[in-house]
């Protein structure tokens, strides 16, 4: 049993990598460079690969950038601030991003002789990103079964697909994940901004999981004004 984990360097996929590594099944980590604004996540994935002594493929698909249009993550349009909510976060949808990344991950798994690909899609993304939902995951797995039929047999693992980000944070907490060594911010600065949708979501998830948030934020308190939260350890 060996598994290729798609890892952005964010808290969910880093937790997933730790989970698979703990089970002794981690074959490789795969990270995509698609010209994203928040390139620091790639460095964080590389550091994780070194920590776990695991081969790491950084797949450069940045030449696709001109085709992956209409998204605040790659284009020169502002990243929305505030809480993850359908209306403002729709501008972060990159058309067909997950299908492209996952098909490449399956090719890597075939080349590496691995028998599964794992990805950290989760319930918190369902309402914004259609390619994170359970029905997409099932259809993708079936498509790959048929695409590789008779040649390779590679399963698709998405253990977090019905979990909230806070539940994933709790899993990471139990596994001892150093969340301060993961990257979430979409802004691409040197520190987490604390204001963009993923920063607010990250802060909230760690608080709900009862974990201390050691992340260095430019605006550490903004999230409370958006979520109305009053988390332990946060004043």
């Amino acid at each position: 049993m060996s598994c290729v984990v798609v890892c952005s360097g964010g808290m969910d996929s880093v937790t997933l990598a730790h989970l698979v590594h703990d089970e002794g099944r981690l074959a490789r980590l795969v990270t995509f460079d698609y010209g994203q604004r928040h390139r620091r996540e790639i460095e964080h994935a590389a550091r994780l690969a070194a920590n776990l002594a695991t081969p790491h493929d950084v797949v450069d698909i940045s030449k696709l950038r001109g085709f992956l249009s209409g998204s605040a993550l790659t284009d020169d349009v502002p990243v929305p601030e505030g809480h993850y909510a359908e209306d403002n976060m729709r501008s972060t949808v990159v058309a067909n991003r997950n299908p492209i990344m996952f098909t490449i991950a399956f090719a890597i798994a075939a080349g590496a002789g691995a028998d599964s690909v794992a990805a950290a899609v989760h319930a918190g993304d369902h309402f914004v990103y259609p390619d994170c939902r359970p029905e997409f995951v099932a259809a993708f797995a079936e498509m790959e079964r048929l695409a590789l039929d008779g040649m390779w047999r590679i399963a698709f693992e998405t253990p977090f697909v019905e979990m909230s980000k806070a539940e994933i944070a709790a899993v990471g907490g139990r596994l001892g994940v150093a969340f301060e060594e993961t990257w979430s911010c979409y802004e691409g600065g040197q520190r987490h901004c604390g204001r963009c949708g993923t920063c607010v979501e990250r802060r909230e998830a760690l608080a709900l999981a009862g974990l201390e948030d050691r992340t260095d934020y430019e605006d550490p308190d903004y999230w409370q004004s958006v979520t109305g939260a009053n988390a332990p350890g946060v004043t």
Copy 2:
């Protein structure tokens, strides 16, 4: 109604491009540069795009080459000669090639505001390539429907999926396709070799369709020794 056609420059996808163009629906052609040995097909696709006055995207995915291993089409292993038959042509299977190319084509279609993607998968490939079969096509379309749900609605057209290559050649003949301006050979030379699986298949298809083959082959007679054919116009 506008359609993005995945076009390698080979006879099947060039025929497909003409078919969609004749219907007034051709939005763009998309060709993939994946480090294939037979790069001349890319030039043939570019010429077609110029002839049809259609925008042409050549998508460079050659950086994936290291991951698309185990295939005679990209690696330094011999291209098999002779007739298309499962045993010798299996070495031309690139793991997950069609899923990767088609997901990128769907992203391009989303960016271009097109409402379909068309690909020239056909029945002659079913026994070698799992990702050319009708059940794969149906699963892929369903996966994309869910991946883009609520954001984009893009259909997947594969009008040749139940046709033989000879039947496609006949369609091309009716549309006036200049087959001598298409490229099939897997060897990557200046002329069609006439001996590799796709050359033999091409020669046979045009003969079965009753079309004159104006292609310049290095070994124009080899195919008959393999197929046992005695086609009109060929001595």
